[in-house]
């Protein structure tokens, strides 16, 4: 794995050949405006359904291993 990653990072070094001084970065390809929906409340997902895939649950809450007191938690 580390050899693969080294090889890939070696390959992408070729970008350094290009002078990109003053070039704006593109995060999003299209110039079109992002259409926003109207801010109207909608019925949320049924909490019962929202936790239906939980590996462990209590009612409509997700249960995870204890956090407080765990070494290195935070």
């Amino acid at each position: 794995m580390s050899a693969d990653l080294g090889q890939i990072l070696g390959y992408v070094e070729k970008l350094q050949e290009l002078d990109t001084t003053g070039i704006e970065p593109t995060a999003h390809a299209l110039p079109h405006r992002t259409p926003l929906r109207s801010d109207e409340p909608e019925a949320p997902l049924d909490p019962e359904l929202a936790v239906s895939n939980a590996p462990q649950r209590a009612g409509t809450a997700f249960v995870v291993p204890k956090v407080i007191g765990e070494e290195g938690a935070g």
Binding site: T20, I23, A29, Q56
Partner: protein, 489 residues
């Protein structure tokens, strides 16, 4: 000719005239699947009973003469990364095995509202990360033209199912070529629409600024029918464009006279490209010239940097998107985890496959504080240069024609030990995703007795012109009607 061999348009016509019923079509699909036992391993979740209920309802509507759309009653497959309410979606990953969605993705909603019968899910590379459909918990898919070869990826199951005649249409997703390259390898049509043309709501995210859903089919006409059903704004995906959706089918007038086709020399001079493949693509372009199109040389000078920019941006976005798989709310949770941090670490270590891990590590690295500017920001700047290459080219031409892939379908296992070699096979497809423009791959002919794809790229939101060029080409050629030996078609 067997029923699944009919194009979607012909199935629609025969459903409309009641020569065929939706149940007949579904029987044919299930029979075909049982018959060859899905040797291509293209389908991962067949929903025979649910599909039957949908087909019966479709037949009732068709008998009343009240079809919901042109594809009412037609069996289709979706890719295993588009969620369906009450059905499993795995993304071909152990981490999502058993995940049952509480809602329908937008693409599935479009299909349902059109009355399509969703017969199941198609196989893919895990989280759509791959170009071969080998990285799947369901095992590799195989190319119907040669079962020892890959169907391409990551929508390899979709392409293989259309090529083998199982279904006339399937949905794929394309982040760096994942619809077009498998379409090329399997000898079918595959279209990546403009970024934002189709809602990504409910598509499991890989790289959010690149992902786009699109159709795979045997003809440009069928792709046009499916795109018309999928395209349009969705308030739940704010990147979906609020632009009018044209009638793509009415654009298919068979006339490309005066169409200006740009030929980028960089795509024909790429190192390692198979000269036989390039010759087939040149001949396909000559056919469009004989139909009245004009060709001219254009230049996309930053093409040699596209792969590097793509794999930095795509992995960076993936590392962020895949952070959600932490074992807490859904998906795999390690049974060995005793603490919270073990839950995260072990669940992810056990749940993700090698290629996904490689990309998460790479993406996390290139986003990290000391390397962000040198890698991620640099790649985004190169993305700007690639976009402006296309903008300049489209000032003088209407479409750009290239090979879809530098080679024909490679053997299963041939590249699986060398990730960089696998990445380099996406050389012709990633640019369209980085630029956000639409692209289509159409069967151009054969090299080494395997299909070759012609890729046509177009201006943002100009899918209609791509479909018109593809349809015109298919009216003049019969490559798309060739069938892999021994299959149903």
């Amino acid at each position: 000719m067997s029923l699944p061999a009919l194009t979607l348009a012909l199935q629609a016509a025969q459903l409309s005239s009641r020569e065929l019923s939706s149940c007949d079509l579904l029987d044919a699909v299930l029979g075909a699947h049982a018959g060859r036992g899905d040797e291509a391993n293209a389908v991962v979740g067949l929903r025979a009973e649910a599909a039957r209920a949908e087909a019966v309802e479709a037949d009732e509507r068709l008998t009343r003469g009240e079809p919901l759309s042109r594809i009412d009653g037609i069996p289709v497959l979706i890719k295993d990364n588009m969620v369906q309410r009450g059905e499993e979606t795995t993304c071909a990953s152990r981490i999502l095995e058993g995940f049952v969605s509480p809602y329908d993705s937008a693409a599935v909603t479009c299909l349902r509202e059109a009355g399509a019968v969703i017969v199941g899910r198609s196989n893919m590379d895990e989280f759509a990360m791959g170009s071969s459909t080998e990285n799947s918990i369901h095992g590799p898919s195989r190319n119907p033209w040669d079962l020892e070869r890959s169907p391409g990826g990551s929508s390899g199951g979709a392409a293989a199912s259309v090529a083998s005649g199982l279904v006339a249409g399937a949905l794929g997703s394309d982040t760096g070529g994942s619809i077009r390259q498998p379409a090329a390898f399997c000898g079918v049509v595959g279209m990546k629409p403009t970024y934002g043309r189709v809602s990504r709501w409910g598509l499991v995210a890989f790289a959010s600024s690149l992902d786009q859903i699109g159709p795979l089919a045997r003809t440009a006409e069928d792709a046009a029918i499916l795109l018309g059903i999928l395209a349009g704004h969705d308030p739940r995906d704010s990147t979906s464009l609020a632009e009018p959706v044209p009638d793509y089918c009415s654009a298919l007038d068979g006339d490309v006279r005066g169409l200006r086709i740009g030929i980028p020399k960089e795509f024909f001079e790429a190192e390692g490209a198979d000269p036989v493949v390039l010759e087939v693509v040149r001949e396909a372009i000559a056919e469009l010239e004989r139909a009245g199109a004009k060709t001219l040389a254009v230049t996309l000078p930053h093409t040699p940097y596209a792969i590097a920019a793509y794999y930095l941006i795509a992995t960076a976005e993936a590392s962020s998107n895949l952070a959600r798989y932490d074992g807490a709310r859904y998906g795999h949770r390690s049974k060995k985890a005793r603490t919270l941090s073990e839950m995260y670490t072990l669940s992810r270590s056990e749940g993700f496959g090698t290629e996904v891990k490689r990309r998460i590590l790479l993406g996390t690295y290139v986003l990290s504080a000391g390397y962000y500017d040198a890698y991620y920001r640099k790649a985004q700047q190169v993305r700007t240069l690639l976009r402006s290459d296309f903008e300049k080219a489209f000032e003088v031409c209407d479409v750009i024609a290239t090979p879809t892939s530098p080679e024909v379908a490679f053997r299963i296992g041939e590249k699986s030990d060398d990730p960089l070699k696998m990445y380099l096979s996406d050389i012709y497809t990633v640019s369209a995703n980085l630029a956000g423009i639409p692209g289509i791959s159409i069967p151009a002919g054969f090299a080494h007795e395997l299909p070759v794809g012609l890729q046509v790229l177009g201006r943002s939101l100009d899918e209609a012109t791509l479909l018109r060029a593809a349809d015109t080409f298919q009216r003049r050629t019969d490559h798309h009607a060739q069938t892999p030996r021994g299959w149903l078609r």
